[in-house]
Symmetry: C2
Subunit: 506 residues, 2 copies
């Protein structure tokens, strides 16, 4: 059918067109079907319906389709019904519990990357893998397909080190210590990190306080080869792009299918050329992996998948029921980490965890003897070499290397949560703390967050501050206080904290 | 956050707004999250993202949201992050294989009807029920919730009869005979039908050749009370609206979860007040239920669900591997059915199937003795009472009651598929025949379709026409011929038909 073009200047992230129902009926196509748009090139697009927005005889072209056709200067196009992509049938196979072939997984991942699938088709795929999981073979192919459909970094030297922390623990700023420790010992660690989705600050959000974090794959490679390590945002590269597209649908469904979790982590590591990887699996109440048995299974599956991909993977099951260190939110966390690098002063939970994981990497990388990694890591912190390396990393990424932890501004609006009586901290709800930090503005407002003065098991006196909320904006501080009042994040010896101090401007 | 309104005149069938990523970050919301729009009223909407379409400080309001707010004449609105609807968590429970409570199912169905769920959330729900199915209790609640969230017809007399055919058999025009037979015997049968989605003509598409089919619930009730029966399109009522919204997502996923199939059928019957129902379950190669065992299970499940809803359900397992009668496509099928009513001449497969199912209804309705229903049905056809009733139905729906089968125009472009040699028809592929009829223009072009001259097992001579393709438009006939050449719908004694006659204008 010849149809007149009507551009719709909306980006939908897909090749999508809108047909009037009358024309659609005439063509025998329904919503979600595909049509071919024939002109000089041939383009396949997903069909949307309208009864009034687009008149009969017209075809509404969303931004992506219009952009592709615009080069051809044309007024009308030939639109014809087309077959659905093979991937639609492949997704149905997953639903039916049938095993997929290698080629089918590659086909599916290519269609995801090339935006040939509608969101509801991807939602069905994710739901099916959440319920049925994929086999080890399928997960391996999925990971490889994710790696191969994106940019890859290939280093000419080895070993290439990497680390990853499964999310869910507030204040987990260890990457800011681990990368400089590892790089200071002569190993290469091209660390790509994420921004927070549900948290109060991903490593990329944190590092951004110190330096730009958006680089492409080539820049990451060059910087890493030059100084040994970087801490950048993975989202600005085209590394494992299928993963980002899957996460876009996983997030609103609040699911993280096991096989996708494995593939997501390992594809990103594989794509940057990592050969030796430590994965930090925080377990305990309030984390993504509340149960230690599930943590062990995840570790085994990651190690196994690593082997299939030719990567050496070690896992660390870590305590995740309490925040790491005592700060949550970008600026506050960076201050805490920098202070450790500068002075070795800081919470032992932060120093210990960083040293142990850095130590594992140092041993895997062959620069520390078996059992001596932690010691070397602590030494690298103490002798100032980690700080020196961190300054190099900040500088090469375009930040100010002379910055110290005292130079970093925090939110100027603060409020204290005080203890109503003498006692001990019995409960500390990670999720509520994170929620308060987010309401206060984290991670978008860099100075916003929460500083914890007392942690589980510690003694507290009546009137003493248990935590301080920081916010860049007064309005947001109020929201955070309101939430803290409604859902108390702390329990002191069975007594609920009820007092929240007024807003103080400092 | 106070944002300036920017209307987007696109209907998305949901309450949906578009935020600039900068504002969304500031608010801490992501794609698929919900926001509350505060003005005089409070409205909850789903969040979409843009980097350029909507400027920071603005909120793009899709048609549905804008329409709702427009009455308030305002330039800016307060937009705040909001919780996801409870239904999102309920869907997650289904994914996790946990049983739902009655209230949860009602909540979910209400949210579906009120468009509070995003398409990907509904896709996840359908995928999860496809894989896990729902229990009998859950399916009962689902059906009841579907009935109660829409319009209902309540008759003051009883019994109210109804029938339903599971789709998948081409040419299944039996409703055009059954409804007049049943109504001619004094029973009430308010038959709502569907239009074809993947077929060449649903009963509503067929009836539309004779009379209008779009009526509301009140009109259906009044017409049925007046003359005993109607044959209308269910889609123009607000009967079980949740079902239509689910089908909108099931179609592109090509799934029809068992529990949804049951609920879909029974909700529509329950909502029109049906008390005694016969369900036609075609089985055999190429139907929706290829396996007779699956057909029996479906029958048991339908009877069981009927009992739970207080409905008396009988099922007929019918032969579905061949078309019913010899015509496919709206006008051709109506001609075949009308001819039976007028003259009792027609294919025995059509007359027999209609008489048996009508007979079951006559027995259930107490107007025929046990075992005498078919006989009464045949008698009602023979004595002209069914034809008389059909004329009344056509007239009350606004059609011309004096129409005869000879008055109905068919497609003026035709092509014959001829046998290349003497032999017997060995195979007849339903799906290919339907595909050819659709390419020829059915169901949208009423005169388009396929007339079958020879069916499975029948003898055919070389050069004899096996089927004729009809089309209202020459272009479409060519498409249909092309497809028939590529995917032959018929096999004659192991020999493939290769010749297709040229286009003939009659």
């Amino acid at each position: 059918m010849q149809l007149k073009i009507q551009p719709i200047d909306i980006k939908v992230g897909k090749y999508k067109v809108v047909l009037n129902t009358i024309d659609a009926k005439e063509m025998g196509v329904h919503e979600g079907d595909r049509v071919i748009i024939k002109n000089h090139t041939v383009l396949k697009a997903i069909v949307d319906f309208t009864e009034d927005m687009i008149s009969p005889g017209m075809v509404g072209l969303y931004h992506e389709v219009h952009e592709k056709l615009q080069k051809e200067w044309t007024d009308t196009v030939e639109v014809e019904p087309a077959e659905k992509p093979k991937s639609a049938r492949i997704i149905r196979k997953v639903m039916d519990g049938k095993k997929l072939e290698r080629d089918e997984i590659y086909e599916l991942v290519r269609d995801i990357v090339q935006e040939n699938l509608d969101d509801i088709e991807i939602a069905a795929f994710l739901t099916a893998t959440y319920i049925r999981d994929l086999s080890e073979d399928e997960t391996e192919w999925l990971t490889k397909a994710m790696i191969e459909t994106g940019e890859r970094i290939e280093f000419s030297t080895s070993p290439i080190m990497d680390k990853h922390s499964i999310g869910g623990v507030p204040g987990n700023k260890i990457t800011l210590l681990i990368v400089p420790i590892v790089a200071a010992n002569g190993l290469l660690i091209p660390k790509t990190s994420s921004r927070a989705i549900t948290g109060a600050g991903g490593t990329a959000d944190l590092m951004e306080v110190l330096a730009p974090v958006e680089f492409n794959a080539q820049q990451i490679k060059e910087m890493t080869e030059k100084i040994g390590g970087v801490i950048v945002w993975g989202g600005s590269t085209n590394i494992a792009p299928a993963d980002d597209k899957l996460i876009r649908i996983e997030y609103p469904l609040s699911i993280d299918p096991h096989c996708q979790l494995l593939a997501s982590i390992m594809a990103k590591k594989g794509a940057v050329g990592a050969q030796k990887v430590v994965i930090d699996i925080p377990t305990g109440a309030g984390t993504k992996i509340p149960d230690i048995k599930a943590g062990r299974k995840l570790a085994r599956d990651l190690i196994n998948l690593g082997e299939r991909l030719g990567m050496d993977v070690d896992c660390a099951l870590t305590y995740g029921a309490s925040p790491v260190g005592r700060t949550i939110g970008p600026a506050l966390e960076v201050i805490e980490a920098l202070k450790v690098l500068e002075t070795m002063e800081g919470p032992s939970s932060l120093i210990e965890k960083s040293a142990v994981i850095a130590g594992m990497l140092l041993e895997m990388g062959g620069v520390a003897a078996k059992g001596k990694g932690r010691e070397l890591a602590i030494g690298t912190l103490k002798n100032g070499k980690a700080l020196e390396k961190m300054k190099e990393i900040i500088e090469i990424q375009g930040g100010n290397p002379d910055i110290t932890h005292k130079d970093i501004p925090v939110g100027k609006f603060t409020a204290d949560l005080t203890a109503p009586a003498n006692g001990y901290i019995l409960e500390f709800y990670n999720k509520r703390i994170v929620h308060i930090a987010r309401l206060a503005g984290a991670p978008n407002d860099k100075g916003s967050g929460v500083k914890i003065h007392k942690k589980r098991g510690e003694a507290v006196e009546a009137g003493q501050s248990v935590l301080t909320i920081y916010a860049d904006k007064e309005e947001k501080l109020k929201e955070a206080i309101k939430s803290a009042r409604e859902h108390l994040p702390i329990v002191v010896e069975g007594m609920l904290l009820e007092k929240v101090a007024d807003v103080t401007e400092i």
